[in-house]
Amino acid sequence: MSRPFPYTYISCPCADTPVPNPARKRRSRESPQKSTPERDTEGNEDQNGTKQSDVKEKEEEEKEEEGEGEGEEQTFDPRSPRSNFSLYPPEQLLYCEDCHQIKCPRCITEEVVSWYCPNCLFETPSSMVRSDGNRCGRNCFNCPVCTAPLAVSSIENVTGNGSGQGPWVLSCGYCLWTTLDIGIKFDKPTNIRSQLQKMTDSTTGPAFDARSRQGSRAFGDLKSPLANFASIDEQSNTREPDAEQSTSQEDATPTPHLGVEARFAALKSFYRTQLSETSNSPSDPLSSEFGFSSPGALNRLMSLYASSSRLSGLYGGAKKPKSKPPVMREALTASEGLRIVPESADTALIERIASPDCGWDGVASISQRTEQSPDVRFVDELLPLPVLLRTKRAKRCKSCKHILVKPETKPQSTRFRIRLIALSYIPLPTLRPLAQPPASLIPGSAPNLDLNALAPLRPYHVLLTLKNHMFDIVRITLATPSVTPGSVASKVTVLCPQFEIGANSDVWDEALQNATAPLSDRITGMRGGEKVPEAGKVWEKGRNWTTVVLEVVPGTLPGSEAEGGQATGSDIAAVSQKDEDVLEIPVFVHMEWDAEAQLEQQNVGKASKPDDLVARELAYWMVLGVGRIQASL
């Protein structure tokens, strides 16, 4: 059960085409060079087989029957774990007019049109998105404990004695968490993000900024004169760590506990200096990767980095450095990003966790931690989370690159410039149970039907309505396996597998049609109660919709009473947790219609003749969720 019963899902046809795996193709052809597991090669051949059949399918695109024949060999199984990834509610699918195919999120590519904060609806310019870390740069924050949005309020408001001034805090309206809990107050009610940033960065020491200048000078000194006038690239190199406020290399004052980001920055600047130091004499034969002085792969890689070839071109042949070239070393001090774990560092933490004032709620949960810095362990270390930005995305067909969806860029606008949703091309399936199972069939059946408790082995009738949104008449063929796949075998019969759905013409047409149509048809439609579902007959038909009847006999649950086994409550519960008792019917839909030719622009002058019609067809699987089968009779 994924939605309230009854529901319908459509399987995107892309599920049938496996990911083209060049390795599989090749490996199964050649003798396997690696000792791949037996089963795997079998699988490869299997895959290969289906792939070939796919190719065939593409070649004979016109003859869809063949593809259908093959499709029938492997009935779509809504219970297989993979089908979860290809089933979509009909309204979420798109349709490509050029490929004439349904498109699910898997077979489209997306392009970001604009970024905006879902909280304040401000659009973020693309240049700012990354520097803000994909999060809102203003005052929008989420509660780190319960993820509800936080409000900026003055301390007086929170503590309850009026006046609208003074220090400000972020407070959660849901779980009553405030930034006071972690000891953070803000001076201004605006620009909270930057204020918070300053406060949280202070763990790395306020001396950081002051040091950076001196650090960069030291950095410059370290560089050999050769490197100094070597290239502009190098110069920009030196500027880079400067901008990032790196710690100076000499400054060995142990910064007690660098945050993750600070340590990362320290490591980065450390590696930068090392790289520039060690790549000074690239022409030295010892420094090549074949020498013994620098066996490291990293060293080898980085020699590219500092434009070694250029330097060597200028100086390499003439000058041979006498001294052994410096080898990149490892980080040695905390300011270089090294952190040696002190002994018995965890004892205090263990005691804290075990202490009664911490308890279960004092430790951050997994979901709370995923958004935070990886060091966080306790709830009082959680920081308010700036709201993640959202994007408006244009969608293109993956195979033909045509635009399927193009939203307007403004965050406030919900309109789309282009939106080709599948429902305007494929019939919308809706399902409902036939209100009263005819008394003639089942005497004494309950009048109101509970879809969450279908009695096994009792025939039910469900009405499947297909509503056409195209301006052409569509011929539909439905096919279902006679017994549903899975452990619970329910019998399904489509009473009328072939029918037509009228065009989505003007609403007035219907009124006019109905006026002319024989009244008796409509009357039988009204008197649904007396109507008996008949094989080969459409149940009901309207302007652009048709209803047919499906007869379903739910199977018995494994181990249930009906099967003679003793069902324990836990067994049944286990079954229902795995959704095995859900009655889902895979239905193969094949639709044909005569569309107007795409070339109509070319023959605008001419009056469109019926000859211009092109026969089109589309086939896909859909899944009808009827209900849940009861354990007992």
Binding site: F264, L314, A345, I353, G359, Q577
Partner: protein, 530 residues
Amino acid sequence: MPATSNLRATQTARPSSPHTPQQQLRSGNTSFASTTSPGSSLRNEDDAIIIEIGARWLRAGFEGSGTPVCVMGFGPEESRRVGDYRGWIQSAAGIGPLPKPVDAEDWVRDYELWQPDLRKVDLGLMEDKIERVLRETYNQYLLTDAGSSRLVLALPSLMPHPLLSSLLSTLFSRWRFPSITLLPSATMSAIAAGLRSALVVDLGWAETTVTGLYEYREITTKRSTRAMKSLQQMMGRLLSSPASGEDQDATREDGISVGFTYCEEVLTRFAWCKPQAEDGEQADQPAHTVSIPSPTCPEQEFYDVPFSRLADPVETVLFASGIAESELDDEEKSIPLLVHSALQALPPDARGTCMSRIVFVGGGARILGLRERILKEVSSLIQRHGWSSVRGRVVERQRQRLEELRISSPASGQKLPTSNNAESSAEGEKLDPSQEVPEIDFVEQKLRRQNKDTPVPVQGVLRQVESLGAWAGASLVTSLKMRGMVEIEREKFLQNGLAGATRDSEPSIPDRRSGLRAGERSSWTLASWA
């Protein structure tokens, strides 16, 4: 191999040539694959995406940042149908008790992306999961167009080829990544610790790997199945047992009846590890009790557990307490043994360097007290066995017999002192040279004097260095514009798949040095993944 030697020849010739205008042009190029130093205005757009994929989690983010933008899981909630909002309506699956005890393997199956045993892995399903999780990562967290920039994957260096192949083909066929770089996660963890050599202990999901790295090269890898998965299963059994009475051992072999998420929550919050057993300590531990949500009704009720009990799974699973060392199979060594044997497998020089650079990564590294305990146990193992792999009762007997022989042969009255001597000398033989006071070597001294300014690296003592993790290492490496050994290009992969990689593990090094761009590389390699 003529081609390679040819390349090498040109390589050595090139630096000596007077001018190389062509290369200047190249390095001046601001194409993203070029290796010019950062600073071009387009840099931001081309920032590579770094993704670390494990069996349970996926971390993704941009190069040059210290922490990933997001961490995504592969649970059943993530593999629901679109439009299935049950996870929001009910309390998330896996919290409440299960109606029926399930097998421990089935219990974890839904939550892992792959298993080491590929016979049970549906590769198609894995592809589906990866596709969806990556699509959501891009759409919700990375907020860039998928496939426009380079992708860097930090992967364990031992990865089954079918897995790697289907992972890469999913990525390449779904999005238009120009190239995918693979970086070994162990090395990346060492880099993120600022080290060149390290012993990386990855307490991962399916297995614990101990990798000896020397100068960024993986030398040895030892693995054990004692890892987070079995820990989780053990914790599940432990939490299932109070529901069915207190007898823990009876239910041990039965299934697990608590929710996976609930169990994981308990594990990450409260699992801890006792310090190495000392007799006096045990008494005061049970005094503590903590209250955790009751497994039968985690939403409302709490119940008290002795805090020490929550340390038991760690004890039994990771340290194999109560099982004799000789009983353990090769693939299920306890973690201290594993670390010790990995160190033992290293050459002495590398061993000395690595043992003072032990890096713990992986989910298990977060368990409080665990790392310290492992180090303590390793050091006691070293004290007991030294670096000799010969041990056991028979050896001990042999030694004693030899000793007796030695003692009896002099047959004089000074029995006691000799035996002492013999013992100490026997001890000394076994001990590693690194533990002795090094002889003062004049060459060594001279070298020392020469490199006075370069600090002497710490060596030979057990020391633990903290790493920022493989993801951060990969981000660091990529942001420094270093190229990985394994850079797989789209076109080449789509032609031949993994089979297109050259067998030779390092043919492309000369290429890289000369600054050729990716497009010009003639062949690609899988390096350590081959």
